[in-house]
């Protein structure tokens, strides 16, 4: 009998399939790629001539927004996207069907995560290109290795956190709500939509979570006052630690079956027993 296809080719195939799927779900495409772009255009139209005071000098808001929103796009393509889509597929029974096939389950998950990273990359590149062309974003090549590493650590960590949320929350509708309820308020205090004051209580709260460290580390790679190579190892380590926590939760709690399938809980079992008797 012929051998199974190689793991690499299957991961590629699964990634391709998830990407194709993504492009056919207009709402996901809109929230992940289009909405951050709309925000970039709007914020620049509203506040584009302002500057942010830093110790070294005045930093143009245009450059601030482009880096921050590119990072936010990466988070929405990984964290929000996975926390939304995985529970939908689970509710539909698609996950359970794949589990019946000989496809190793890690390859299915890998396809999901790789596709999210590709979407994050495309989204961030579109954002940076728009920034360079329209909003005087300057690219300093000496800082690009730091930008690439920061990006990879960030998407890896937020993909893991997205899977963790998808594992803890059992139904698609509540997972979508939970993803937005966590990421949107955090974005407001994490230098995505507005620049925050360094000493406020909100900043202290924001620094507990991984979004602000990631956004700031990525913004630094486009900040003219931060010297190359612009690696912020402390922030990267902190984001990576959150990612590992997410990975641990996802591996422990992930379920393939819709929550309504089978009398899983004791209460449901008792109700069923009473109904039968």
């Amino acid at each position: 009998m012929s051998a199974f296809p190689s793991s690499l080719s299957m991961v590629l195939r699964q990634t391709q399939y998830q990407l194709k799927y993504f492009t056919r779900v207009p709402v996901a495409l809109f929230f992940t790629i289009i909405l951050p772009l709309v925000m970039l255009v709007l914020f620049n139209a509203l506040f584009g001539d302002n500057t942010i005071e830093t110790d070294e000098g005045d930093w143009s808001v245009r450059q601030f927004y482009t880096g921050g929103l590119a990072a936010y796009t990466a988070v929405s393509a990984t964290f929000s996207n996975l926390a939304n889509m995985v529970p939908i597929r689970r509710d539909e029974g698609v996950l359970k069907r794949w589990r019946s096939t000989p496809l190793p389950t890690w390859i299915y998950i890998a396809g999901f995560i790789c596709s999210a990273i590709v979407i994050a990359f495309v989204g961030a590149m579109v954002m940076l290109t728009v920034g360079v062309v329209f909003y005087d974003l300057s690219i300093e090549w000496a800082k690009m290795p730091a930008a690439a590493v920061t990006f990879l650590v960030g998407v890896g960590a937020f993909a893991a956190l997205g899977m963790a949320l998808a594992s803890i929350i059992k139904t698609a509708s509540s997972a979508s709500a939970a993803a937005n309820a966590t990421i949107l308020p955090l974005a407001f205090i994490s230098d995505v939509f507005v620049a925050t004051d360094g000493d406020s209580a909100l900043t202290t709260i924001a620094n507990i979570f991984p979004l602000k460290p990631f956004v700031n580390a990525f913004q630094d790679c486009f900040n003219p006052f931060v010297a190359a190579p612009a690696f912020d190892w402390g922030a990267l380590g902190f984001v990576a630690a959150w990612g590992l926590l997410g990975l641990g939760i996802a591996m422990k709690k992930f379920t393939w079956e819709p929550s309504g399938a089978g009398p899983r809980s004791r209460r449901a079992a008792r109700a069923a027993a009473t109904a039968q008797g």
Partner: protein, 307 residues
């Protein structure tokens, strides 16, 4: 070695014994039907055999594998049509078949699967635009895509119109003729009677009878004598009137009087004698061999009485 060997299988959820000591085996190439009401434990048992659920206790061997541990090699040789499982709605039938086929080693070609499942005209339509029956055919197509040695069908035709059921039956029969072992769950008796080599009847998690459809029919009941209740008799008096005439258990469903009896000739003689004496006509008088349905009703009634 049988394709499926199940011994003293238990699955308990707290105090609820969904599967309560079931044993059976399915030979290679056999079509075996698990029959039972909703909640009888059919799907739970089948999902344990598919590896989707763990068992509480017992021993299970499927194609020589322990389904709880067996992964890729095992799943490559089985086909699973689950009772509820979605397909990627945004993809076309062609795309999902291609995609799922890529997981298996012994794939059927797209044309072959599409023809077997009767999806020729839908191949470039998105799954989301198909009707319920057509989607169920997509389920079947994906179940047989890897040329399985063993096919699990969990209520494969529930919700089908009669023509679609016939077509699915033809497909399942063709697979059976091809040497594929099939484990089928159904609550349609005609389906079990039509397709299965052997039938196991489940009630409240227990196997209450097993055999070929013919054996079950012969073994348990005799002949069913039935007729419409004459207008001159009130429904309330039906049982008291015909009990002594027919002997044995008389049932009334609507205005149909039914009795399952061992010596039909005698009973018919008494019934017609009574009718002539009383000057009434027994409309729709019928003497028929008991169907699997009668067996099933009898068996499940008995098991409810004893439990």
């Amino acid at each position: 070695m049988p394709a499926i060997d199940v011994r003293d299988l238990h699955k308990h959820y707290g105090d609820n014994r969904a599967v309560d000591g079931v044993s059976f085996h399915v030979g290679e190439g056999e079509v075996y039907a698990l029959l039972g009401h909703n909640g009888a434990g059919k799907s739970t048992a089948v999902e344990i055999l598919e590896g989707h659920r763990t068992m509480t206790s017992g021993s299970v061997s499927v194609l020589g594998f322990d389904p709880a541990k067996a992964q890729r090699e095992f799943r490559d040789r089985i086909g699973v049509v689950l009772q509820t499982s979605g397909v990627e709605n945004e993809f076309t039938v062609r795309e999902v078949i291609d995609l799922y086929a890529s997981a298996y080693r012994r794939r059927r070609t797209l044309d072959e699967v599409v023809e077997l499942a009767g999806l020729e005209e839908k191949v470039d339509e998105r799954v989301g635009s198909l009707s319920g029956g057509q989607r169920r055919r997509v389920d079947l197509a994906l179940g047989i895509i890897g040329r399985p040695d063993l096919l699990f069908l969990d209520e494969p035709t529930t919700g089908f119109d009669p023509a679609a059921r016939r077509k699915s039956w033809d497909l399942i029969e063709a697979l059976g003729d091809d040497g594929v072992t099939v484990l089928l769950t159904t609550h349609y008796l005609d389906e079990a009677e039509h397709l299965a080599d052997r039938v196991g009847v489940l009630a409240s998690g227990k196997m209450i009878a097993e055999g070929t459809p013919a054996q079950l029919i012969e073994g348990i009941s005799g002949t069913v004598v039935s007729f419409m209740l004459p207008d001159s008799i009130e429904t309330a008096d039906a049982i008291s009137t015909f009990g002594p005439v027919l002997g044995g258990d008389v049932r009334l469903s609507g205005r149909l009087v039914e009795a399952t009896v061992d010596r039909a000739t005698e009973v018919v003689h008494r019934a017609t004698g009574w009718a002539i004496e009383n000057g009434v006509e027994l409309e729709s008088l019928r003497v028929a061999r008991a169907s699997l349905e009668d067996v099933f009703l009898q068996l499940t009634e008995q098991s409810e009485e004893t439990s």
